[in-house]
């Protein structure tokens, strides 16, 4: 029944046994120093110390050493390995799962994650294999299963800095993948702060039957944390410059009393304003700054708090993109007449904010999608399924499409599957159709909101096309025969609009109505805004690199560079701060700057108990067809075996009592003078 230690790093404390030995030798005859008139003669004499180094009180010395030995053993959490060997097998696999989310950067109490990881590796029985996995939003296998413990220790130096949100599910799934091929049940040792916000999400982790899950909790120094969770930028209309009012939202978790903090607003590195704010415990606060003017180029926005123990969320960054025209690719049929698109093109040339730059084409080339803000399908579909798939993919990834359907598509019957289906010619009507049921509250119709529903009622539409909006699109206006006239919605990360209102005079008088201009600009602007860069991204999010960049390189806030292989692809943000996109070389002015912040949930340092995590796995695993078993009972049994430290502490108390009795016998440590010359301290002067 070999003895093991849960935290063997505490065994370093055994060196403290030397302390009573040294004290014993140095202080054993100094308990009551004897007064002497002068040491002027003695100090000049050579004094040998060999005799003084002899131990004169062995029982007391041994008892004190025993106290330290037991105390160190209690802290090292001793346990018996007998049951464990049969459960997991000495040759099994231990997956060391290291939480590297941003919250792990908070100050710790006592041992750090590194100490714990070393302790876990040090406690592994000989012959056992180990794998090291780090995780935040995603998991990375830092070290594949190996029997080389030294290599595992060395791999800890490669562990990335904390960053990204906590996702226990990602780590557990990676561990499950490593354990899947094992012939004997393995174990997962999770070193984490057990942040509640990181509970398993997504597909349930399914661990192999008999897997033991242990958790080693790294305690943060304080649960009290205040962070900037969001920043609202409200544009101020008017003027030639871009102006906006900035409002920061703060959230605080934990704490006992209100906390006074300073919030600073910086634009392009310059501090523009500061505000003092009091944040109550477990509550939020809003801080509103005065109107700020931005340059026409990209503006870097920062809101900073007075740092607390967890600094990763004390700074919110954002990028207010430069003013740029909205690039429109107008795809028209090959037989299009000039008067068909005249009104649309004219409408897009008038006005600003946004400014439209129209590129007309009869054949959509995939490369056009790289720079396009919005694609307008003017009564035209995709000639090939491949091109349609490319367009749909672009839309899903954040593109914008406006489909203006007419007679040609009615005859064809199809558009793009993710936009509309069941296209056809609407029944012939004697009287012009009138639009109704307009959802003016939709942002796509914000420019026509002033005209109201009455504006739509004045339209006289003689001919239009029937369609059925795809899933995800909402009908915003209908003809009086209840057929949809306008539908809009989000498809993936993109935005799509399908309009059956004829944009030329062949189908009605819409181009001649005052509603036409704001209507067209409104739906195109709304669809194009999907391609507008957001103020900030969240850590853990992926961002698709524009295809127009030949050799994209993303430089992170820590100075690291990530090259996108093949020139196209996505990058997943891990660290908070400003990320820069370069082409080829990482120097000069970046092509784009993206701001990344920690997800607000990561600011809440509230922990959950290890059982919560295990129970979550249990429930998820029970639904799995493989019938994987929850390791809760095994973990509890092991925890019970680690209760030996309580008995060791009792032994420490008993030894201390014995030491007190032994040390108070009175004669120890005193070298009495001879009987003829009594101790001067005791004379009757």
């Amino acid at each position: 029944m070999p003895l093991g230690f849960l935290v063997p790093a505490f065994l370093v404390g055994l060196v403290a046994i030397g302390v009573p030995l040294l004290l014993h030798l140095r202080r054993r005859d100094r308990q009551r120093p004897m007064p002497f008139p002068s040491l002027m003669f003695l100090s000049r004499l050579p004094i040998r110390t060999q005799r003084r180094r002899r131990i004169t009180d062995w029982p007391l010395l041994l008892l004190r050493a025993l106290v330290i030995l037991l105390l160190v053993a209690a802290f090292a959490r001793p346990f018996l390995r007998s049951g464990e060997a049969s459960e997991t097998g000495a040759a099994g696999l231990t997956v060391l799962l290291l939480d590297r989310s941003a919250s792990m950067a908070a100050d710790e109490i006592g041992m750090s994650w590194h100490d714990f990881a070393l302790a876990v590796l040090g406690a592994l029985p000989s012959g056992r294999r180990v794998a090291v996995v780090t995780f935040d939003a995603d998991a990375t296998v830092l070290l594949a299963p190996t029997g080389d413990i030294a290599a595992a220790r060395a791999s800890l130096d490669q562990v990335p800095a904390p960053g990204g949100p906590t996702r226990f599910g990602a780590g557990l799934r990676a561990a499950a993948g490593l354990l899947a091929g094992e012939s004997v049940p393995g174990e997962v040792v999770l070193v984490s702060d057990m942040q509640q916000s990181g509970r398993a999400s997504g597909a349930p982790p399914a661990l192999p039957a008999g897997t033991v899950v242990r958790s080693v909790v790294v305690e943060p120094a304080s649960r009290d944390n205040t962070g900037v969770v969001a920043v609202d930028v409200e544009p101020v209309p008017g003027g030639t410059l871009r102006r906006a009012v900035i409002e920061a939202r703060l959230a605080r978790s934990g704490g006992d009393s209100a906390r006074q903090t300073t919030v600073a607003l910086l634009v392009d590195g310059r501090e523009l304003a500061t505000r003092e704010v009091t944040v109550p415990p477990d509550a939020g606060a809003r801080v509103r700054f005065d109107t700020v003017e931005f340059a026409r180029s990209d503006a870097r926005l920062e809101v900073q708090l007075t740092p607390d123990r967890f600094t990763a969320d004390d700074r919110f960054v954002g990028v207010i993109p430069a003013l740029a025209p909205t690039r429109v690719v107008l795809v028209v049929p090959t037989d299009v007449r000039t008067d068909e698109v005249r009104y649309l093109e004219s409408a897009l040339k008038i006005g600003s904010d946004p400014t439209f730059v129209v590129q007309r084409t009869t054949r959509l080339d995939p490369h056009m999608l790289d720079d396009a803000s919005v694609i307008v399908l003017f009564d035209v579909g995709m000639p090939t399924a491949a091109l349609e798939a490319t367009l749909e993919s672009w839309l899903q990834g954040g593109g914008g499409i406006v489909a203006l359907i007419g007679d040609r598509l009615a005859r064809r019957g199809t558009l793009v599957a993710s936009l509309a289906t069941d296209l056809g010619r609407a029944p012939e009507r004697r009287e012009p159709a009138v639009l109704g049921g307009v959802v003016l509250s939709h942002p796509a119709l914000e420019p026509v909101r002033e005209a109201g529903a009455a504006g739509f009622a004045q339209l006289h539409i003689r001919r239009y096309t029937r369609f059925t909006p795809a899933a995800g699109l909402t009908v915003l206006a209908r003809f009086d025969d209840d057929l949809p006239a306008l539908a809009a919605g989000t498809v993936g990360q993109g935005r799509a609009v399908v309009s059956a209102i004829p944009p030329d005079l062949a189908g009605g008088d819409f181009p001649l109505q005052p509603l036409f201009l704001p209507y067209m600009r409104g739906i195109l602007g709304w669809a194009a805004s999907a391609t507008v860069r957001p103020l900030a991204h969240l850590a853990g999010e992926s961002w698709t690199v524009p295809g127009s960049v030949g050799a994209p390189v993303v430089r992170g806030p820590d100075g690291s560079s990530t090259r996108i292989a093949g020139g196209r692809g996505a990058v997943t943000f891990r660290l908070g701060g400003f990320h820069e996109l370069h082409n080829g070389r990482v120097d000069g002015v970046p092509l784009a700057t993206l701001a990344v912040n920690l997800p607000p949930a990561e600011s809440d340092l509230t922990p959950m108990s290890p059982d919560e995590l295990l129970l979550g796995v249990t429930e998820l695993a029970a639904t799995d067809a493989t019938g994987d078993l929850a390791p809760v009972e095994v973990a509890r049994a092991r925890e019970a075996r680690q209760a030996n430290w309580r008995w060791v502490l009792l032994a420490v108390i008993a030894a201390l009592i014995g030491e007190a009795v032994l040390a108070s016998r009175g004669w120890r440590g005193i070298a009495p003078p001879s009987a003829r010359y009594p101790d001067p301290q005791g004379d009757a002067r």
């Binding site: 004897m34 008139p37 002068s38 004499l45 040998r48 001067p680 002067r685």
Partner: protein, 300 residues
């Protein structure tokens, strides 16, 4: 350290033991009062010296009227002036004096010795003063005929808490003591012999008759301790762990050599030295010293 009543040092039995001895000063010093000390100048005394002719301004009371009757001339009677000597007793109040292996510490023993000497000197008509060596200067009592109570009171108030080395205290003494006289020092002499010699030489150069009592406790002389022990220096509070049986012989040798060096230095400087141990009777020490002084005769 507790103060005691001034008369506590003046054990009548002790004084009776040394009452047959005369304290004879070897040095004739100026004084105002009659005593047993011999002076070179004539003046007011009981011992007739000679007659001389009256000079205008002489005290008419000193005219020898009988001789005038016989000679019809005015003669003045002159006497051999017998003055009192100034006796200053200097007590070392350093912390090292607060040590004693017997019933009395060195300090208590030295204080009893000096108090006895002061009493004895006063009985002979000498003027007595007191100097706490290394102590506060406010406690210095200048020599005067009626200062014995003050001397005893000041000695009673003195406690051994000084930290000034004895030689430094003696060097600082030379400029402040006034008229030349006898200076009796009681100290354990824990200082460099050369410095003590220099300090006593400076006092001798100012005409003082210096007598040094080297107070020694039997325990610091014999070092009778056994086994390992830690000694704490009374003056510096520094500590030293020693094996007593290992270092005792060398210590005794060093202590004896120091005493001899101090004795030689005191003699070379013109002073007198006497080592007294705390375990020997006080009267025997006084008698031994007074006898020793009596044999010296007048030095100048």
């Amino acid at each position: 350290m507790h103060t005691v009543a001034p008369t506590a040092f003046l054990d009548p039995a002790l004084l009776a033991g040394i009452g047959d001895l005369e304290l004879l000063a070897r040095t004739v010093v100026d004084g105002f009062l009659h005593g047993v000390h011999r002076s070179r100048r004539t003046g007011l005394s009981l011992d007739f010296a000679e007659h001389r002719l009256y000079q205008p301004g002489d005290d008419l009371r000193r005219i020898d009227w009988r001789l005038y009757a016989r000679t019809d001339r005015f003669y003045m009677k002159t006497y051999e002036a017998e003055t009192n000597a100034d006796l200053r007793v200097a007590l070392d109040v350093s912390r090292s004096m607060d040590f004693g292996s017997g019933p009395l510490t060195k300090f208590a023993w030295a204080r009893a010795l000096l108090a006895s000497l002061a009493w004895l000197a006063r009985r002979q008509g000498d003027r007595v003063g007191y100097i706490p060596l290394g102590g506060p200067t406010t406690e210095i009592v200048p020599p005067a005929a009626r200062h014995l109570p003050l001397v005893l009171q000041a000695m009673a108030r003195s406690v051994p808490d000084g930290t000034m080395p004895v030689a430094e205290a003696l060097e600082g003494l030379a400029p402040v003591v006034g008229r030349a006289g006898m200076l009796v020092i009681a100290s354990d002499c824990y200082d460099a012999p050369e410095r003590m010699q220099h300090a006593i030489g400076a006092l001798r150069a100012r005409g003082h008759d210096v007598m040094l009592f080297h107070i020694v406790d039997p325990a610091e002389r014999d070092f009778p301790y056994e086994g390992a022990l830690t000694l704490a220096d009374l003056e510096t509070t520094s500590r030293l762990a020693v094996d007593s049986s290992e270092i005792a012989p060398a210590y005794r040798q060093a202590f004896a050599a120091h005493g001899e060096a101090v004795e030689r230095g005191t003699g070379s400087a013109g002073g007198d030295y006497l080592r007294v141990a705390g375990d020997e009777p006080l009267d025997r020490a006084l008698r031994t010293w007074l006898t020793h002084r009596g044999k010296q005769g007048v030095r100048r």
